[in-house]
């Protein structure tokens, strides 16, 4: 009996995922499967749950923001000349912004985002903003732990990595693509924390 229920849950879960994928990029948030709620998320103070790495195409250097569960935000600099990242400084993201970031990840299902999902929207969405020369790519890595048994899909962790071009994510470039808006919201909070630190510490 237990196995039958488990199998049913798995099949239902698979069906939900399949129906989501069939809906494809044209789907809006209403057609998405029910994902984990913010209450099911575990944030561990010293554990990175979000990494945002910018790869400056022209500078040959990478800037990495590693957001920990307690809001600390170490900022690293590295380059293709050296795999060893150098810690520049550690900023602090306020608790309300940490919560907001997790909410955005869940609300927009960024833990499922792939390039194809947004690329297919490029074809139909209006572009108001121009592209940007000399900006590179940005890679988002999500590691969100869940309380066991709280996720409808039976997952213990949301692990996902995706890569996008910074130019496409810029303000007004694709104004109607909700995933970009969600990512801009996240990036804005992270970079605001860095700028606050630099202003307070008078970092040149």
């Amino acid at each position: 009996m237990g196995r039958a229920i488990g199998l049913t849950i798995i099949l239902l879960g698979a069906g939900l995922v399949a129906s989501y994928q069939l809906a494809g990029a044209a789907s809006d948030s209403q057609s998405r499967s029910a994902g984990p709620s913010p209450d099911s998320i575990l944030l561990e103070p010293d554990k990175e749950f979000l990494r945002v790495q910018y790869s400056g195409s022209s500078s040959g250097e990478f800037r990495t923001y590693s957001l920990l569960g307690d809001g600390r935000l170490p900022v690293f600099l590295s380059s293709y000349a050296s795999d060893t990242p150098r810690l520049l400084y550690t900023a602090q993201v306020p608790p309300e912004d940490v919560d907001a970031i997790v909410d955005v990840v869940l609300r927009s299902e960024l833990y499922k985002l792939d390039r194809e999902r947004v690329r297919s929207k490029h074809v139909t969405e209006p572009r108001l903003g121009p592209p940007i020369e000399d900006s590179g790519s940005v890679e988002f890595t999500i590691h969100l732990s869940l309380y066991p048994g709280t996720d409808p899909g039976g997952q213990d962790e949301l692990d996902h990595t995706f890569l996008l071009t910074v130019s496409d994510m810029s303000t007004n470039r694709y104004p109607s693509i909700e995933e970009y808006a969600a990512l801009r919201e996240i990036v804005k909070k992270i970079r605001a924390a860095e700028m606050r630190l630099r202003a307070e510490a008078v970092i040149p």
Binding site: E44, S57, S58, S66, F76, D134, G136, S137
Partner: protein, 388 residues
Amino acid sequence: MNRLPTIVLGIAGVLSSNLVFAGTFLRTVKCSLADGCEPGHPEDHPTFIINDDGIVYPSTYNPNGSTNVRVCVDPDFGGRLPEMVEWAAAKWSALVPTTENCFSCEQYEVPPPTVGTFNAASTVLHELGHCAMGLGHTTIIIRPPLPLTPPPPRQYMSWTISYGASRQLMFDGADEIRGSKDDFQDAGDPDVVTNTFWYRIADNNPAIVDATVISSATYTYSLSNLSTSGSTWPANANYGVTTYPLGLGYPGTVATMETPPRRGQVRFDLSADDVNMVKMSRTGENRVVGGSPTNDDHAIQIEIVPCTESYDLRVLVLETQDPSALGECSVAIHLLHLFDPPVSAQAYRLTSPAIVRINPLQDWNPNIPVFWNGFEAGNTARWSATEP
């Protein structure tokens, strides 16, 4: 959200990836949706893309009479940004090709220093090439679509621009220099690379400074003219091509439009390749000097204006969209003759106002290069012989 007590965990390792989009004229591609390119270049018209024969003119280009590009600058770097922009604008207006224009340069794939500063004036020079003159990068190896996971491998940039490559499609030939005239593509490769790099028909030399008049008679992007110079691929002015023992013999010469400077580098003037591209643009749409029935040549220069007046381009120090970039040029492109057949070939124009942002997060060196012709690179021989 639920928060657990502190558990010491290491920070995950940092992955690396790299992505570049550009052409020798800005955003020139020859690529369809089926190839993985998106429609919508330029921004105002969703059905066409900039073709490999396209020229992107400055925003003030008009076949019936062009005006100068007006650039305004916000004071920054302790008031030194206007000085840098004036210096760079003078370079693009004067269009004097030079050799030995790059201090401490190397081929892109040779790791640069990880410490030191970036030269701000060199960065401004590069960004004005994009946003005021309509030029793209001279080298490229990758284009989308990119794989989602794992991240794409590191892509090096010394190759002559080769759209269509999502993996290594070009090989460096007998001289073992990437981006040189004997590069080739494996004949059996089904993914044929498209060249969008313009080169001199007679010698395929991107560094030489001489009196050749640049026009469609002497300058082309078409691979069919390579045999004239005994080449298999257009050569670009990267450090290896100009400087390595089997290179062209112009040490320390690098196209300013290759990339912005790396740490410790200074690009203190324009190379012949940079200048030739603008000269090609200056021939107008008939692509000849003078010409008939109309002479549509132009001599657009960069003019500095106060930001309180109308301007075509604004330069300022402001948070960039990509915090790892040095600077960013944000500009759209329009097809020049949207409803009329082009005069002779595809003609595009930058839109205005464009914006150049200089990243305040970077480690900047605000010094403006003064000398050229090898002097700042440590070669005083020619300087003392020719410059009293």
